[in-house]
Structure formats: C-alpha cells, structure tokens
C-alpha cells in the first residue's frame, strides 16, 4: 500500500513492559498513534528477552498513522553494569573503580552490540566498549 513516511519516534522501553505511561503515552499520543497497539506489538516482540531490559526502539510512522518499529540492542552501559554486577556506574569516574569486567566479557558484549555500532570488527567494538567502561569507572581485567 501507499506507505509514505511522515515521522519517526525514538525511545527506550523496558522489554515486555510497554504501557501507556510516559514516555510512550505522550510520545505516541502527541503524534496520534494507537498507543495500545504499539504496546501489544512491542511486548509480543520482546517476550523472549529478559524482562525489564532497556530496549531502544525506532518507530516509523506512516501517512495513515500506522507504523512499524525496529528494536535495537540495549545501551553498552546496560551490558557493562550487568557484567560487573553493578546497580549503577561510578558517579566520580576517573577516581577509582567501582567494579571490574574481564576482556572475555567485553568481547561477549561486543558480539551482541556490534550490529548497532559504528565499528568495523569485533576488536574495534571492544575498544569502544572499553572506553565506555572507563567513563563508568569499571576496570578491565584479563
């Protein structure tokens, strides 16, 4: 059918937990999209994921207010905190470490994230993840 794109919405939603409250409600509601239809479709597509995992999603809006959406991988910070078993990163990065992850864990994160990263290969992705770890106060160990 005559699919003319009229807009995009980008947001982060917890896997399996989409509901009409902010940010979904206002972001979709202000654009006149059917909030419940998005929530149902998102929760169905993320049902195999870990509940509550932050999932970036890009919604493409068409002329008749129908839509498609694409799920992205969670932010690097999510993977790093999970690997280091931390509730949050350091508030004073650069002044000591709050946790550590191994290079094997970094490579594992790189394999999951590389589809959404501007990296040529796994090694390049690892370097970016190591950079993120540093800003979060997470030490990389062998």
């Amino acid at each position: 059918m005559a699919k003319k794109i009229t807009g995009y919405i980008k947001l982060v939603v917890s896997a399996g937990k989409a509901n009409p409250s902010p940010p979904i409600g206002p972001a979709l509601g202000q654009r006149g999209l059917n909030i419940m239809e998005f929530c149902k479709a998102f929760n169905a597509q993320t049902q195999g994921m870990e509940i509550g995992m932050p999932v970036p999603v890009v919604i493409t809006v068409f002329g008749d207010r129908t839509f498609t959406f694409q799920l992205k991988t969670p932010p690097i910070s999510y993977f790093l905190k999970k690997a280091a078993s931390l509730p949050k990163g350091s508030a004073t990065a650069g002044r000591g470490y709050v946790g550590k992850v191994t290079m094997a864990q970094v490579r594992d994160i790189a394999k999951q994230k590389i589809v959404d990263m501007n990296a040529n290969d796994i090694d390049g992705a690892c370097q970016m993840i190591i950079g993120s770890a540093r800003t979060m106060g997470i030490e990389i160990v062998e």
Partner: protein
C-alpha cells in the same frame, strides 16, 4: 506525571544535529513532517525532575547556537498529566467511507444502519482507512457494489486486509489477499479473525502476480493499492490475471502520476471507468469492458 517538552522547528537535514544534542537527556525523541517534506519538527520529552534552567540555558541554547535558529523555532513547555490512552482512542473516531463503517476495537457505539462495519486498529500494517488512497478504494468498491458481481476477487498489497474484507462484505465472496510483507499477512489474518471473516480471507505472502497462488488465475475484480511505479511495472502481469469484463481498482498514486499509470494500463487494452480524486491522491477504476467513461 508531567513532562517537559522541547519542540524545535528544523529543516529535514538538521534533525540529526538536534537529536544529537537532546537525545542523551531525553526520554523520547519524535521527529515528523510539519507542512512539507523539508520542514520538520523535533520533539524531545524530559522527566519532570530535569531542571528547567538546564533545559533552557544548556540544551536549548546549544540547539540555537549550533543551528542559528530564531527564538520562536525552539520552545519549552510543561505537558500536564493526561490520560494518554483515552486521548489516543479519541483520536481514532469511527470513519464512514462509502458503504463502510470503520472503527477501532475501542469503539463501543452502534453501527449505522445499512453500513458494513469493519474493525481495524491502526497498527503495524498499512491500511487503517484514514489515508486517502485507502479511503478512495473503499469509495470505489462502494461504487462498483451495485454494478458488478465478481466471483473471484484479488487484493494485491493487502496491508491490514481492510480492502479484502470490504470486498468480501459487499459480495459475500472469498478474497485472496496478497502481500510481500509477512507482518501484513499476520495482521490480515488477525483482522480477519477479529471481524469473524477468517474463512473468507485467504491471506497469502507472495510477490506480485507471479506468485504461486496468483499466477494463472483469472480474477473478476483486482484491487491494488500500492504505489504508482510498482503498479506500472506490474501492469502486464496484472492484465494476465484479469478475467474478461473484469474490473481493477488502482490506488496509491498521486494526481500528478495519474497519466503515466493510465498510459501503462491503456497499453494493456484497459479502459478508464471512473477516477476518484481525494486531495493529492487518485484512485482509478479500470475495466476490460468496451463501454467505459471517465
């Protein structure tokens, strides 16, 4: 929960810059056409605990500085707490298109007498009935309802299945609903069940008139709400699937594309029976029959 919202009026290529500046702190970003293909708006939503001063002095100032925007092109407002779900439902009122009454699942009112009700939710496949191309097809089907009595019907590019179901309601015939997008087929099946028409809609995932279920068949009515270029490219194959005296409804084309689509089909010995113009969109009814008029 209240929310802060920053709205920025930009040209389409500037969107990425605004998103880069606002994206890190925003809960959600929305960008959309505002009047023309080049003029867009970006909206960024922030939680209420984010300080107003930070939004104004840091984020808005950065956007204005980088893009050299006027003050009136970037503004901050506090969105009051609202029942977004109720507002969302309210923005989808029932729609009357020819002989059809289109409504979402949230509608609990009555269906006007003499109209065929179709329950369609604007979701992950195209075809809510609201777009002028779909609306035009519903009018075209209504127009043909008293004139023809098709036994075999094909909906090519079915989307939500709305037109397949509409045709099935009019003539009480089974309709073959084809789309190359598996998601559309899933949604069509879902909508057919929702409307208690599962046995009447044969949703099939395939590519055009050469797909297995379509090739070699002759249809009395073909509905194709796609886009101008694919319609032209498929004209030869479409004609092979059209029964003698058959009718075809073509939509998804803009008024300025009308002549080229018509020409491609005139080359296949089809004649214009009727055109329906809605805004910038045109819907064409063509036929094999000799006595046709525009």
């Amino acid at each position: 929960m209240n929310l802060w919202k920053i709205t920025v009026n930009v040209k389409q290529p500037q969107i990425v810059v605004v998103e880069e500046i606002l994206g890190y702190h925003a809960e959600a970003l929305s960008s959309y056409e505002a009047g023309s293909e080049i003029d867009w708006k970006v909206e960024a939503y922030f939680l209420p605990h984010v300080e107003k001063n930070f939004l104004e002095a840091t984020l808005i100032a950065e956007v204005q500085d980088q893009l050299k925007l006027k003050a009136e092109d970037v503004f901050l407002e506090l969105l009051p707490r609202a029942d977004w779900l109720a507002q969302s439902y309210a923005s989808f009122p029932p729609l009357i298109a020819g002989r059809f009454f289109i409504h979402g699942s949230h509608y609990e009112g009555i269906v006007p007498k003499g109209l065929h009700a179709l329950e369609i939710n604007a979701a992950t496949a195209f075809g809510s009935g609201e777009h002028q191309s779909t609306f035009g097809c519903l009018l075209a089907l209504s127009l043909l309802s008293k004139k023809i009595n098709p036994q075999k019907i094909l909906d090519m590019g079915t989307g939500t299945g709305i037109l397949a179901m509409a045709a099935s309601k009019l003539w009480s015939q089974k309709v073959l609903a084809v789309d190359c997008d598996p998601e559309s087929i899933r949604v069509t099946d879902e909508n057919a069940s929702l409307n208690k028409m599962a046995s009447m809609i044969d949703a099939y995932c395939g590519h055009g008139y050469k797909s297995q279920k379509v090739k070699g068949q002759k249809f009395d009515l073909i509905i194709a709400n796609i886009l101008a270029r694919p319609l032209m490219q498929m004209a030869v194959d479409m004609k092979k699937c059209l029964a003698p005296n058959g009718f075809v409804i073509l939509a998804g084309l803009l008024g300025r594309q009308e002549n080229m689509v018509l020409y491609a089909h005139f080359m296949q010995d089809l004649k214009l029976y009727k055109r329906i113009r809605l805004g910038e969109w045109t819907c064409l009814i063509l036929t094999h029959q000799i006595k046709a008029s525009s």
